[in-house]
C-alpha cells in the first residue's frame, strides 16, 4: 500500500480558482503595504542612528533562529518559540503541498508522506500550545506589562481557528474516504473518529469538508493580509532590525551630532529627522512590554511607558496632516500624557538592553531632547542646571572657586608628580555635597595606600558634560568635552580613574567620538585589581549584612557586575545579599538622565522604591559605586528615617 493522498481532494475548480485569485490579491496588498512602509522609512533622512551590519550570520543564528533575547523571559520566550515554530512549519507544509499540487514533482508519498502527515499534526499541536500559553499570559496571570488590544486577542483567536479548521478538514477527509489507517495523523484520526461517531452521510461529509476548506482559506488569507497592518509585521521588520543593530553586549552612547553650527535645528523635529534605522525600529515593536518592566519613569508614574511612546512615535510617522506640512513630532505627542516621558526618562538603559528585537527607545528620547533643549523648551529646573553649567562650569550652582578651595584642603599632598600613572578625575559632585567629598577623599586614600602615582586637575577640572548630554544640550556638551579633551591631552598619561560611572562612560565612550581617546577605569575595577595583586588590604567592616546596588552606568552600560561583588565577597565575616532586581535587571536609582535636576512627575519616587527593595533583604549597609546612587539612597534613608540603622556607603569608603 502506498501512503499518499490526492492534494486538493474534493475541492472544486471554483474554489481552487478563488484560492489563486485570493492569494494574488493578498500578495498585491502585501507588496503595496510594505512598499509604503519602506517609502516612509526612506523618507526619514536623519543620519544619527547607529547601524551595524557586521556579524550578520551570528545575529541571524543567535537572535533570529535561536531567539536568544526573546528567551531571556522564559515563559514569554517559550510561547513565542512555540508559535513561531508552529506558524513557520505549517507555512512550509503548505508551500510543499502547493508544489506537490502544481508541479510534476510528486514527493509527498510513501514514508515521506507518513513523516509529513505526522509533522503537520505535531506542528498544529505546537501552535495550539503556544496560543494557549499566550492566552494564559494575557488573561490567566496578573501580567501588568501586557496591555491587550483588539488585535492581540483577534490574532490569537484567528490562528487557533485556522489550526482547528485544518484538523477539521483532515478529519472530514479521513472519515469520508475511510482512511482510518492514517493514525500517523493522530489529531486528524481523532477528529475522524469523532465525526464517524455521529454517522453522517457521505454527502454531508463532503459538504463539511468543502465548507471547512473555504473557511480555512479565507481565515488564512485574512491573517496574511493583516500582517502589514498589525503587529504581525514584526515577522519581517524585527529580523531586519536585528540584522542592522549592534550586538547587545553593553549599551553604546547616543550618536554624536556633527556640524551643529551649520544646522537650523538639531534632533528630531519632524518625521524626516528620524533615520531609516529609527523608523524601522518603530515598526519592529510588538508591544511585548519588556521595556516597561523596570522603567523608573513608569514605576513612579503610570502614564509614562516606553512601549506606549514607541507606538505613539510609530503612529506619528504615519500621521498625515493636510493643514500642517512638516508638523512637529512633539505637537503630535503632546496630545498624549506619555509625551512627558521625554523628560522623565532616566536613561537607565533597561528598555534598550531588554528589548528582544533591539529597539532603542533611548535614541528617540535623546533626539527629542536635542531638539527641545536647542530651542529652549526645557523644564525650568533643568534650565537652571544647564545655565549653571554654562556660566559656572558645574550644574550645582556652586562657585568655581569652591572647587579649588576644596582641593587645596582635601588632596593629601600637592600632586605634582612628573610621571603619573593615572589621572584621578574627581568629578563635579564634590561641589554639591559633603558626602561626595568624603567619597573622593576615600578614593585618594586608596590610591595613596596602594602607592599609585596619580595627578588631579585641581581647579582646572570642570564637569565632564554628562548632565548636558543627557538633558539634550548637545552644543554645551561638545563645548565642554572639547575643552576637557584639550586639557587631558596635555597631561603625561591617558589613563583616567574616576569614581563616577557617569564620568567614566562619558570620558571613555562619548569623548572617543570627539577624538579624545582615554583609558578610563572605574574605581571598582581598579580596587579589585589592587586587591588581587595584594597591593590593597581587605578591610574589616562593622556591618555584617551588605547589599550591593548596581549603578546603571556601571552595570548595563559597562557590563561591570562582578568586580564590586568580588570585592565585597572578599571582606571577611559579612553576608553579601542580593536585591530582587539586580545585575542586568537592576532598578535605576532615579537620578540618571538629568533626573537629578528635574522634578519628578508625581507618584512614589523611584529612589524610595529602590530603597524599600534594598530594605527587604534587611541589610546593615547598602553599598554602591556611583555618587548619584549614593545621594539617592541617602535621601531615601532620611525620608524613611532609618539613616541610623541602614547606612549607605561607596565601595571606596570601605577601604579609605
Amino acid at each position: 500500500m502506498i501512503h499518499a493522498r490526492e492534494i486538493l481532494w474534493n475541492v472544486p475548480h471554483w474554489q481552487t480558482n478563488s484560492m489563486y485569485i485570493g492569494s494574488l490579491f493578498v500578495l498585491f496588498v502585501l507588496i503595496v503595504a510594505f512598499y509604503k512602509m519602506l517609502k516612509i522609512w526612506r523618507s526619514c533622512k536623519g543620519d544619527w542612528e547607529d547601524y551595524d551590519s557586521k556579524d550578520l550570520v551570528r545575529k541571524f543564528v543567535n537572535y533570529i533562529l535561536a531567539q536568544k533575547t526573546v528567551l531571556r523571559d522564559r515563559i514569554a520566550g517559550m510561547m513565542h518559540l512555540l508559535i513561531s515554530i508552529g506558524v513557520t512549519g505549517l507555512f512550509l507544509i503548505t508551500v510543499l503541498l502547493g508544489l506537490e499540487a502544481h508541479t510534476s514533482i510528486h514527493f509527498i508519498k510513501g514514508n515521506f508522506y507518513i513523516f509529513f502527515s505526522l509533522l503537520a499534526d505535531l506542528l498544529g499541536l505546537i501552535l495550539i500550545a503556544g496560543i494557549g500559553l499566550a492566552l494564559w499570559r494575557r488573561f490567566g496571570t496578573r501580567n501588568t506589562k501586557l496591555s491587550t488590544e483588539f488585535q492581540d486577542l483577534s490574532i490569537l483567536i484567528l490562528l487557533l481557528v485556522i489550526v482547528i479548521t485544518g484538523y477539521g478538514i483532515e478529519g472530514a477527509r479521513m472519515t469520508a474516504t475511510a482512511a482510518y489507517h492514517e493514525i500517523y495523523s493522530p489529531i486528524g484520526y481523532v477528529v475522524a473518529k469523532i465525526l464517524a461517531a455521529f454517522g453522517p452521510a457521505k454527502s454531508h461529509l463532503l459538504n463539511l469538508h468543502q465548507s471547512l476548506w473555504v473557511l480555512h482559506l479565507v481565515l488564512a488569507l485574512t491573517l496574511i493580509i493583516l500582517i502589514p497592518f498589525t503587529k504581525l509585521k514584526h515577522i519581517f521588520t524585527a529580523p531586519l532590525n536585528i540584522l542592522l543593530s549592534r550586538l547587545p553586549n553593553s549599551l553604546p552612547p547616543p550618536p554624536l551630532l556633527r556640524n551643529i553650527e551649520s544646522k537650523e535645528y538639531i534632533g528630531i523635529k519632524s518625521r524626516s529627522d528620524f533615520s531609516f534605522k529609527g523608523a524601522l525600529e518603530l515598526d519592529a515593536c510588538t508591544r511585548c512590554g519588556r521595556c516597561d518592566e523596570n522603567c523608573p519613569a513608569l514605576i513612579s508614574n503610570n502614564n509614562l511607558s516606553p512601549k506606549i511612546l514607541v507606538n505613539l512615535l510609530q503612529r506619528a510617522l504615519r500621521y498625515q496632516s493636510k493643514s500642517v506640512r512638516n508638523y512637529e513630532i512633539m505637537q503630535f505627542l503632546q496630545k498624549h500624557p506619555c509625551h512627558e516621558l521625554v523628560w522623565y526618562c532616566a536613561t537607565c538603559g533597561y528598555c534598550q538592553y531588554h528589548c528582544p528585537v533591539f529597539i532603542n527607545p533611548l535614541s528617540k528620547i535623546y533626539g527629542l531632547r536635542f531638539y527641545l533643549t536647542a530651542i529652549g523648551r526645557v523644564p525650568r529646573s533643568a534650565a537652571k542646571a544647564l545655565e549653571s553649567l554654562q556660566y559656572l562650569g558645574n550644574p550645582w550652582e556652586a562657585l568655581p572657586d569652591k572647587r579649588g578651595e576644596w582641593f587645596e584642603k582635601s588632596v593629601p599632598k600637592k600632586r605634582n608628580v612628573s610621571h603619573p600613572e593615572y589621572v584621578y578625575w574627581v568629578g563635579c559632585s564634590v561641589l554639591n555635597d559633603v558626602r561626595m567629598q568624603e567619597i573622593a577623599v576615600s578614593v585618594m586614600k586608596v590610591l595613596e595606600a596602594a602607592e599609585i602615582n596619580y595627578v588631579v586637575l585641581y581647579g582646572q577640572e570642570g564637569c565632564c558634560g554628562d548632565p548636558a548630554r543627557r538633558l539634550g544640550e548637545e552644543g554645551l556638551f561638545q563645548r565642554i568635552a572639547l575643552a576637557n579633551i584639550k586639557r587631558l591631552k596635555e597631561l603625561p598619561t591617558d589613563k583616567i580613574i574616576t569614581h563616577c560611572p557617569h564620568c567614566a562612560f562619558t570620558l571613555k565612550h562619548e569623548y572617543a567620538r570627539l577624538n579624545g581617546r582615554f583609558d578610563v577605569i572605574h574605581h571598582s575595577k581598579l580596587i579589585w585589581s589592587l586587591v588581587n595583586q595584594k597591593r590593597l588590604k581587605i578591610p574589616k567592616v562593622l556591618e555584617k549584612r551588605i547589599v550591593y546596588h548596581d549603578p546603571c552606568y556601571l552595570g548595563r552600560y559597562d557590563s561591570c557586575y562582578d568586580e564590586p561583588r568580588q570585592i565585597l565577597n572578599a571582606i571577611p565575616d559579612i553576608t553579601l545579599l542580593e536585591m530582587e532586581r539586580s545585575r542586568q535587571k537592576a532598578l535605576c536609582c532615579g537620578a540618571g538622565g538629568g533626573q537629578m535636576w528635574l522634578e519628578s512627575g508625581g507618584g512614589m519616587r523611584v529612589n524610595y522604591i529602590r530603597f524599600e527593595e534594598a530594605q527587604r533583604s534587611d541589610p546593615d549597609l547598602i553599598v554602591t559605586a556611583c555618587p548619584y546612587c549614593n545621594m539617592m539612597f541617602h535621601d531615601a534613608a532620611k525620608y524613611k528615617e532609618v539613616s541610623d540603622t541602614v547606612r549607605v556607603k561607596d565601595l571606596a569608603e570601605l577601604f579609605g
Binding site: 551643529i260 529652549g376 544647564l386 554645551l476 575643552a483
Partner: protein, 286 residues
C-alpha cells in the same frame, strides 16, 4: 496704526557681567579682568524677560515683527546673534565705538534717534539690570519720544484698536491694571515670565537675518570716562550710640530724625521732585 497692520516691537537688550566669577584688577591699565577665561557672557535677565514677552505676544497670535536692539561696542553683536537665534525677526546694533561706558541717558538718546527714524509701536526693556540696579533707559526714552511709559509690568496683553493692557504689582497680591495707546514704552519686571533657556546651539546656529549695524557717532555723548580702578579704601567709621533721650525723641516723633541739615519734603510727587531739583541747584550739583 491700523488693526491689521504689523505691530513692530522693539526690544532693548544688554549684556550682564556674571558676579559669580572673581575678578582681577589691573590698576595700571585701568582694566577689570575676569579670573576665569571661560566666563561666558550672558544677556541681562530683565532683557531676556522683555524679549520673551515679545515672543509670547507673537505666539498668542497677531502680526508681530520683533526687533532686538543693543547699543555699544562691536563685541556686543553676540547678544543680537543670540536674539536672532531665539527667534527675533531683526537685530540692530547701534555701534558706538568711542563710548566704552555709556550712561542710561546716552543709551536712551541713541535709541530715541533710531526710533524716530525707523518707528516702533511697542518698545520693551527691563526695569532693572543685574549689574547696576534700576534702569532709567525706559522712562528717559519715553520722555524723549513723547510716548506713554509703563513701568515694572508683570503682565502684558495686546488689545484691539492699538491699545495695550498691562498689570503692575502692588502690595499683597493686588494688581493695578492700566491701559495705554500705542506707541508706548514698557519696562518689564522679571516676574512677567520665565524666559526660555538659551542653548549653545541658539548662540551659534546660522542666522536667517543679518544683524543691521548702524554707526551712531553721537557727538554730544555724555560719556563717562573711567579714571581709575582700585581696591576699595577702607574708612574708619564712627559709631554713634544715641542717648536714651535722643532715642525717645526719635520714637515720639514717629521716626523722624531730629538732626540738623535734614529737610522733609512735603506735597505730591511732582512738587517733591521740583523741591529736589531746587535743592540740587542750590548745592551746585545741577
Amino acid at each position: 496704526m491700523m488693526a491689521n497692520d504689523v505691530i513692530r516691537i522693539l526690544v532693548y537688550v544688554n549684556e550682564a557681567v556674571s558676579h559669580e566669577y572673581s575678578f582681577e584688577i589691573d590698576i595700571r591699565n585701568k582694566k577689570v579682568l575676569p579670573c576665569h577665561p571661560e566666563m561666558v557672557k550672558k544677556i541681562d535677565i530683565a532683557s531676556r524677560c522683555a524679549l520673551e514677552e515679545a515672543f509670547l505676544v507673537k505666539e498668542r497670535g497677531g502680526h508681530v515683527e520683533i526687533s532686538a536692539i543693543t547699543v555699544g561696542l562691536p563685541e556686543a553683536e553676540w547678544i543680537l546673534r543670540t536674539c536672532l537665534g531665539l527667534g527675533a525677526d531683526k537685530a540692530i546694533h547701534l555701534a558706538t565705538d568711542q563710548l566704552e561706558y555709556c550712561d542710561d541717558y546716552t543709551i536712551a538718546t541713541l535709541l530715541s534717534e533710531y526710533v524716530n527714524r525707523k518707528k516702533a509701536d511697542l518698545i520693551l526693556c527691563g526695569d532693572r539690570t543685574e549689574n547696576y540696579g534700576y534702569s532709567q533707559i525706559g522712562p528717559i526714552l519715553a520722555e524723549l519720544l513723547g510716548y506713554p511709559f509703563l513701568s515694572g509690568i508683570i503682565r502684558l496683553e495686546m488689545g484691539k484698536e492699538g491699545r495695550i493692557t498691562v498689570q503692575r504689582k502692588v502690595t499683597r497680591g493686588n494688581r493695578l491694571r492700566l491701559q495705554a495707546p500705542l506707541p508706548a514704552v514698557v519696562s518689564v519686571n522679571r516676574m512677567i515670565n520665565l524666559p526660555r533657556y538659551i542653548s549653545v546651539h541658539t548662540q551659534i546656529k546660522p542666522l536667517k537675518e543679518a544683524i543691521a549695524k548702524i554707526d551712531f557717532p553721537y557727538k554730544n555723548a555724555r560719556a563717562m570716562e573711567l579714571i581709575s580702578v582700585g581696591p576699595f579704601k577702607p574708612r574708619a567709621k564712627k559709631s554713634v550710640v544715641p542717648s536714651g533721650e535722643n532715642r525717645l525723641d526719635f520714637l515720639m516723633s514717629g521716626g523722624k530724625s531730629s538732626k540738623e541739615g535734614r529737610k522733609l519734603l512735603e506735597g505730591n510727587l511732582g512738587e517733591a521732585c521740583d523741591q529736589i531739583i531746587q535743592l540740587l541747584k542750590e548745592e551746585n550739583i545741577l
